[in-house]
């Protein structure tokens, strides 16, 4: 598992609040977090703790109320919707709990989609190769409705890797699957991740899945704290991993 000391995601003093009539709801207390290239990070926490909100801001889908967030040195907090789109097209991959495949496109066309948006050559060959890699080479022309949940998520994984993204964000990737399928999907995800050396940020409340990441952080009522580093001695914690 490759991990170098170059920070790919850097968050400092990040807050997010929403105005509900007269009351302000603090979704994220000031959060600091650095993720290095090639690192695998699990964000755990109970429902409503703010982990998905954090993921949205890290991936440039949403903007923070205050604070800074850099993805590959791009200041996302200063970028408008269109600029953030471009950053996502160039550097980011997604896997969603609901799979979110486009129902009127075939499996192959779904996989090709991000490559086309990023104007990459050979989208079709790459797509077919990735479908083969997730074991769905034979089902390339099938529509999502003709695939099982596990198969749909495999297509989504293939879709996530086609642009060889720098960072892959996964939001409860096994949340909609039964345990057995969930394990298979996780295997596939980590296997591809290792092969491509992608940085992975994963939101889950499945401890077993979180366990497979190098590092875990926990969200609790908008406050982020480091849990532990799997396979790494706590005392050897580098400075950038100190959170609060």
């Amino acid at each position: 598992m490759k991990s170098n000391s170059e920070a790919i995601l850097k968050v400092s003093a990040l807050t997010k609040s929403v105005q509900l009539e007269e009351k302000t709801l603090e979704l994220l207390q000031p959060v600091n977090l650095t993720v290095n290239t090639g690192e695998t990070l699990a964000i755990v926490g109970s429902s409503g703790s703010g982990k998905t909100t954090l993921l949205s801001i890290l991936a440039g889908l949403d903007l923070p109320t205050s604070g800074e967030v850099y993805l590959k040195n791009h200041p996302l907090h200063q970028f408008n919707e269109e600029q953030r789109s471009q950053v996502r097209a160039d550097h980011v991959g997604f896997i969603f709990q609901q799979f979110l495949l486009i129902s009127s496109l075939t499996a192959l066309e779904n996989v090709m989609l991000p490559a086309e948006l990023a104007n990459l050559p050979d989208a079709k060959q790459q797509g077919l190769a990735l479908l083969d890699a997730v074991g769905l080479g034979e089902r390339a022309e099938h529509y999502p409705s003709q695939l099982s949940g596990g198969e749909q998520q495999r297509v989504a994984i293939a879709r996530a890797f086609i642009t060889k993204p720098d960072v892959l964000f996964a939001d409860e990737p096994t949340g909609n699957l039964d345990t057995k399928t969930g394990v298979h999907i996780a295997d596939l995800l980590f296997q591809l991740n290792e092969k491509h050396g992608t940085t992975l940020v994963l939101v889950t409340h499945d401890p077993k899945l979180a366990q497979r990441c190098q590092r875990q952080v926990e969200m609790d009522s908008g406050v982020l704290k480091e849990v532990k580093l799997n396979n790494v001695n706590q005392d050897e914690l580098p400075a950038h991993m100190k959170v609060g």
């Binding site: 789109s85 979110l100 486009i102 009127s104």
Partner: protein, 856 residues
Amino acid sequence: MSELRIKPSKTWVKQSLRLLHHEFRRGELTIIFLAIVLAVGTVFSLTGFSEQIKQAIITNSANTIAADRVLGSSRAIPTEYLDKSDSLSLNVASKILLDSMVFSGDNMLLSELDIISEKYPLRGEFLVKMSLDQEVPTSVSAPKQGTAYVEESILSRLNVKIGGTIEVGVLPLTIAGVIVEIPDRSYRMFVAGPAIFFNIKDIDKTQLIKPGSRVYYQYLFAGERDDIETFETWIKPQLNETQNWYDAKSAKNRLSKVLDSSEKFLSLASMLGIVLAAVAVAVASRRYGQRHQPMVAVFKALGASTSHVKKLYMLHWGLLSLISIIVGLIVGYMLMLAGVSAIESYLSLDESQLTFKPFVTAVITGLLCAIAFAIHPITELISTKPLDVIRGFSQSKLPRFGWHQVIPLLALFALLMLFSRDLIMSLSLLLGGILVSGILLLLGRLIMGAGRSAGAKAGKAWHLALANLKRRANENSVQLVSFTIAIQLLLLITVMKSSIIDEWQAQFPENTPNHYLLNIANEEIAPLQAFAEELNLDNQGFYPIFRGRLSAINGEKTVSVDDDDKGSSTTETDEAKEEEQDKPKERKGAGRELSLTWQEQLPLTNEVVEGQWWQIKETLPQVSMEKGMAERLDIKLGDELTFTIGTDEFTVPVTSIRDVDWKSRQLNFIMIFNEAAVIDIATTSISAWMISDQQKNEVYRFLSQYPTISIMDFGAIMKQLTSMIEQVSIAIELILVLVILAGSLVLVAQVQASMEERERELAILRTLGAKGSLLRNSVLFEFVALGAVAGLMASIAMEIAVFFLQTQVFEMSASFHFSYWLVGIVAGAGFVGIMGMLSCWRLLNMSSLTLIRRTM
């Protein structure tokens, strides 16, 4: 990664086309596609069809008027007119038009007689075939004396051949040829019968023209342009209200005006179908927007820019609209061809005359539907946030009032304007439409609400169905309005066809006259009277009749207000009318020549309401007037009325005012004189007889001895009326089919829009242990109830429409048609029930497991 980027290609084009291809194949665009096709097809076919008819009628009828100018008149014109035209060396021809019975052996037929002078036609060609196998027709003028040219249908209907003889009045004429083309054929809605042309020199020998005969004279003028204009300037100020001066253009204008208004009616009626199709587009595009939300969110999350998404969807929607419009045009063209071929036997239509009008109108309709009714959902769709991939999608945003609701209304108004080209009419239709829809909505809500509480007591499936109906009241109201209108049209046609005419006829007493005898010479009265007594025929006596004009009231000249004289396909020029209106001290006149009579005794069905009826052998000339007309012209007892009969004038006082029962089929007159007033006027007589079917042959045989008498069979007129109603019903039925199609589209579109919600509900009910049959029944009953409510409202609307037809148009007492209410309710419930079940079929046949898996 950025080093891998290549020059941006048109990815959005590729993705857009791919999406369109897949969605079309998977049937996801069918409703929108069909709705646009329906709107475009309808507009193209109807506009094209009516234009073809209009053009055919205009080109066939008034290609020329067989002259440069025509003077039409119900009397022979003063000789000085002809002297003047001679002095300008204009060519003059004359034509006399007259309806009369024509005989051949035992057969007889009411025909239009065209009696022409030698020089006819002055312009254009009068084409005749001298034998049926002659290929190229001959261009002729008036036939030789003693011969006639006839329209081909005469041959079969009188069972005679070319060279055979027909009797016109008392004159036998040999058929010399069959008419192929009449240069000044006029288009008349009610033509007495096929045309017979013969020489004007024969007219006296027929003995057909008698005092009081309904005859129309046409004088045709042609010549050098300057001469014609000089003549026109000279003659116009001298024309009176029974004389019409016209050229080809004004004849055509008058005709197009008549045709335009009928076209307008047809288009406006079909507007209903188009508006419904537009509603279907609106509903379907809203669902389209909602269904595509996740896709746009994913696209954006994966890095697509808003402009990428915008271009992608503009192309997608644009192509969809384009394809639908093209298919709509093709469908419309085929429908138009089908319509044209159906009426080809009545009119000779030339397809090459198709103009751009139907094409342009249909394309604009398609664009309006595709853009105005879809712009809001599409803009909402494009602005979907990428964050929604995480947050989830809102399926049913409640529509708020805003500009997006104004645009469809504006589009609707534009559509109305496009068809009617009439601002006031479009505005009132729009407002009226909103009002009627509002009333129907309110009524429907009330009935559905009442049904909800009734349903609570009526078993589980009904309970569920009516609760659903009430909850989806907003959506259902649109369907309710469309089905109500469709069912009402259906009921109205049925009631009109089967009941009203019968009821109208049934209300006349047994001995109501069913034949009118016209053109009876004075010496013929005695034998006819004797014959009627011998056969015990019920008749109301003989009324002498002559035609004349009310020319002054108390010395003030009258002006024409509305001109509905015979031959009204012609028109006076506008200047002539203006000049007439400028004259001082004028009063409103009857506006036409009247049929006048004299009587010593008050007719049985009349009642004097003011003044007194005269004594027999009274020597003071006087007139009795009908109440309605007296009120209209503001004529009081004692007023002095001046009448012009030909060139003679006389003045008499009004000594009584009568109430006349117009509903009876008795002979009724507006003006009745006493004998002293009309002592010098030549007359023919008219009589109304009740002839039973058994007596018919005998009477007809007897009357054939008097060939100049015309018989008007009321039964035959009724048949004509019935067949006219049949034809009108065909037109309404076409529109009905359209409305039902559009209404069904709206229904299917709305069921589709509510599909996710229905799936969720069914899943919950299943999980809670509801049986399949309960679920099926609840869905079925929901639609059955909706259809039944529409049927009920349609029945009420039908009854109101019938009430107005009965009291206003047919002047009969109103009656109820409850048996048709049942038809309306059952038809509505059945049709909507079946449509609803069909559109929910997939959902209802899903296994519980699939259902739960899909929605949980």
